[in-house]
């Protein structure tokens, strides 16, 4: 169970945040995730590029005004100089700021928890990964769906061979919030996510396609060999893709489809993964995350539920409450934070991270950016099969 996993007697990790001020969405999510298990204490922030807003946002969160910074450069410098400076920083800005902010804090010796996609270009991603590796610091990318217990269960079952050899991967992430040109109404989330200068060249592919890819990658462990993509922009005037369909070929011969859409009415965050092998199948859906459908070939299908006896240690480790009491998105997000905390605490103590800790790292972040790049490349070439650049 998560709460008892770490030694909470150990003082909480001092956390800073860049981005996430008034009106932001994901900043509040990161804060709740950081609070849930008590592993972190938020003590500093550069919450907005607008200094007034940064100050107001910090005050609303009870931060010491002296530690509400107007920009991340000042914050990195000042916190590095404090004896009680932050140990970790959460980066929750629009995508184009991930790289510069992350570099600044890595240079300041601060562990990084960064939202996805890692960067807006593959070159930036590689450079950042190299810096992260040189630093020896913890670098966590919040591909948060990997934090769901039943996703861990799925991964463990596949790793244990319960599905046999994997043949088919079906992953999809439809949404509907960009069915109309919401960006023209001034809605903040829509505005930056459809602006290539802030989100990168990918729209839907970057925002949710990467999540879908990461989920399939995490659960199956298969190596993607090549892809054929058809990206579309349906809403007139939109500057990035809002619909993604990709055919996948894996190195072991498996085949797959990745579908992501932001223009599919009736879908909120309907991320779903289905995997089929020679011996059975699995199905998991983010909107009902506490169950995993397991279909052993030739037998009745089974509904495995989080917290129940039929579920193994990989899921149990990241489970907080008994079966039938649903855990949700914030708990999965908090699990990523808890796993990063375990690694940070191990670093603090000069120990290696616990062996069973799993959190998406900078390498996963690079893979996500490589997916965006390859999908854009393939789509521009009318669906020609492309390999992911390394």
């Amino acid at each position: 169970m998560v709460e008892a996993r770490d030694d909470n007697a150990d003082a909480p990790i001092r956390l800073g945040m860049v981005g996430g001020g008034e009106g932001a969405f994901i900043g509040a999510v990161h804060r709740m995730a950081a609070r849930l298990d008590g592993h972190y204490q938020l003590v500093a922030g550069a919450l907005s590029a607008d200094p007034d807003k940064a100050r107001r946002s910090g005050a609303a969160l009870g931060l010491d005004p002296a530690r509400c910074y107007g920009d991340f450069v000042a914050m990195a410098r000042a916190e590095a100089a404090r004896k009680d400076g932050i140990e970790a920083v959460a980066i929750v800005t629009p995508n184009h700021m991930h790289a510069p902010v992350a570099h600044a804090f890595l240079e300041a010796g601060v562990h990084v928890i960064c939202d996805k996609p890692l960067t807006t270009t593959l070159e930036d991603a590689r450079r950042l990964a190299a810096a992260a590796e040189r630093s020896g610091l913890v670098f966590c990318v919040t591909h948060n769906y990997t934090g769901y217990p039943m996703v861990r269960q799925a991964r463990a079952m596949i790793a244990a061979g319960e599905l046999g050899d994997i043949r088919v991967v079906q992953v999809e992430y439809p949404q509907d919030w960009l069915t109309t040109d919401l960006e023209s109404t001034g809605q903040k989330q829509a505005a930056w996510r459809t602006d290539p200068a802030r989100s990168g060249a990918g729209g839907c592919i970057g925002d949710i396609g990467t999540h879908a890819y990461n989920l399939a990658d995490f659960v199956t462990g298969l190596e993607l060999k090549e892809l054929s993509a058809d990206l579309t922009t349906f809403v007139p005037g939109r500057r990035v893709d809002d619909h993604v369909q990709i055919m996948l070929r894996y190195a072991n011969g498996a085949r797959g489809l990745l579908w992501a859409s932001q223009v599919a009415p009736g879908n909120e965050n309907n991320l779903k993964l289905r995997v089929y092998g020679t011996r059975g199948g699995l199905e998991w859906r983010q909107e009902e995350p506490n169950a995993l459908c397991y279909t052993p070939f030739g037998e009745a299908s089974r509904r495995l539920t989080r917290g129940s006896g039929g579920v193994g240690p990989a899921a149990a480790r990241v489970t907080r409450i008994p079966g039938g009491h649903p855990e949700g998105y914030l708990e999965a997000f908090a699990t990523i934070y808890a796993e990063a905390a375990a690694a940070i605490r191990a670093a603090r103590a000069g120990r290696a991270p616990p062996p069973d800790v799993v959190y998406p790292g900078v390498g996963d972040g690079v893979k996500g950016v490589a997916l965006i790049e390859a999908a854009l490349r393939s789509s521009a070439a009318n669906g020609q099969w492309m390999t992911l650049a390394r």
Copy 2:
């Protein structure tokens, strides 16, 4: 309501059957479909290519031994010569026999109800279509899923513009029955369906891919512009594809994915269609066919149910019993038979068929064969975009 739709006082249509003897699957389905609404009476058959089996099968069905034929040529000739000869024939043989049998009965002036895919080659399909058109006879191809009331409802809603302009089509038909090499065990269905000499060059694409395509085609009415296909054979030794993934581009700019598989454990006949437009979406699944999920953009999703007040005349016409009492596969199949009956009776009376009668015709059959051909062509060309030959 179906039962009262036609004038049952009119004598039942005299029906013959080719194929469908002992051990067959689809023949029994056709017979139940023909019986349910009382429009047909089975009076003759060439139920097997094996004369003994043909006789035994006919006897078990109560046929007059004199009308249990050893081959379809004899049957067509003899029935044409009888005053009380059959008016229609149901062709339920393996695929490679569809064309010769259909030609024989068309030449004998008999209406045809033929299973799908229409033929094993596109050339045959076109020739048969031409013959059917020349004959002036009713030619029905049993793309039976179009008989479901809620599929009719979906079609009517899209035609009425309730979804706005269609942008996205997602259709899938996963099964699991060919996960292993069942054909090597002597199982009759598996044997002929994986034998190119009897099923045609397509395996999964012909057997169920055509159903998925037909369903999307029927419901959306969109013109398919081109496709990029990746067909796979997973089971060692299998001679046809058992897994299909296709990217679709429609003439109006819509995009889509078609996935069909016979190696996806846990899926029985999990045909599902999702369509999204500028104003809303629809979702329908064959295994729970009495409901249609309608998701108007920005509103709560709605569950429309067969037989309820919220459902329009296109569905009501083909509904037999009130809502909450499920209708199934046989009822939908029977609806195709009932619609063909209406057309045959109109022909009998020298009238035009009733204007609201909808049944898949020979043109739909040709489209299905064209899909197979284009998918095979594209897959052989490593997924190159191909148009459907006409």
Copy 3:
């Protein structure tokens, strides 16, 4: 599989029908059920008490005008006198006519298939049962939900002890069609079903409460010891109950609840049964009848599906088509007809009925009427515990 079960070469059973003329609901259901498997041929009818309507209704069904009778007495007499007279009669009138019609045909030596509830009073029910037993004829009461394959599967699993000792029975049948005073609009179904002179003293308890009770009785085989009922009439002016709640105590110590309602908006025919024992549970719902949820204690829950390998012979016997192709209400109804046909054919041949044939008999009909009587009695006594009269 149903189609092949009987020797169809044997001539169809000559069937008559009383009731079920124009505008009726259940008559058409009986006719489709009789046709589906080819065991019956409808040859005579007294389809309406109104002679003109009787004639018109018969003509629409293609009956010989000479065998369209104006009343059931004439029909019983005339058919008994014919050499090719009916062998069986389907009684599909309002409830108050079941007894007189059934008596008339039993006396004429005709097998009876009668809708439920058997009669409008318990005294009538017992008298009819005695007559049926004396006659030696087949007497089938169409508690049709027992015809669903997965209901058969549930019964077989409980009989085999897979649930251990049964502790809890939860059965419910909510509808919504009488939420308003539909009877005052002239709707025919509502009019007679809420008229004590035609439906009997029970409203909801008789119409659907008996189905719920029969289903629990059929599946569990438990003996009901006593009940405490609270019947309510919610719609002003209605003359019978439209809402039923009953606490159940079984002879083995099991407990249960029976809920039936005709005023629960959003429920069409939402019959559901849940049974729990010391070793596991089962759940089945009529609106998704092709699956049975099986929950062995301490293990993952399983979804058993009709037509799949995990399902036993009791279900397989009454299955027509493979898994994933849904069967529905008409198929289950047809199974009752098919089982009655097997018994009638055995009688025709002077044989005992096949040992595995299961159809609800006159004894089940009496039990249903006893339930109505006891529930009315208990409710009138403010919920006092009552035993079912025998």
Copy 4:
């Protein structure tokens, strides 16, 4: 949205906890709920009646050893004497300790957040309620299911008349964890919950029956007039009931059933509420809490989802993240804590609590105990109708 609702700049509320040491379940839940929104800081505890365990448990949570007390009396006294003493206490002990602990802290001027059922006897409950009212302090009883956003939505819709006059209430809470005599294995939760000395005279009725009742009460606002109960103990040797069935009559004429069971295999925490009125129905299930099924009479049923546009302010107020990202049990629990925090902060500032704050109070706790008492009384009288004592 919850996070922004209160002024977080205001210092967190200093919280103590009684109970909830090593091996406890609900204590950890309370702590996560208290942490999620940042309104509380846990600073003191009497976490176990075993002083060593109390110390160890406190250390694991990072508490100051000086504030890890061996008993609640000492804790109340010492904390009251500190300038930085606790402002609120969470009582998470077995039921029999709720009353003495709550009295001690009320006397010490500390706000109380107490688990349910409030007390083990109705007399104790009334005395405690009187003390709470005299104190003027906040007294929150964690009937946590009322914290779910879609439960708030249901309540608001009924209050607004969207269902018309309520006729039918169906509430059920089946579990399976006590299907066997788990208490004899030493499992801590089972041991105290089946021990009348610690849980009170009610077993299942107290542990989960009260939750079911409270949920129906909260959502419908109907006054319960009388009940007829049948409580059963199925597991041999068990000292309290493990199965509850109750018929309900409401003051407005509505009828209902309450079913709770701890011996229903396959049910984890399957709390479900259905309410039907003259104009429509609602259905909500705790295991899929982010949706509410709304069935307006005569229209298609609708699926309202948390965080979507179709949901009103009562739900939106207690929503943290957008639709499609599921919230769960901890979030709902945290909402109760957040609402209590708003009241406590208002008290701190000498203000009245915000008008829209809804949390279950001591009066709700008394109602729950009255339900237990009346159900036991009715069941002992063979189901005689009983009113709830006041």
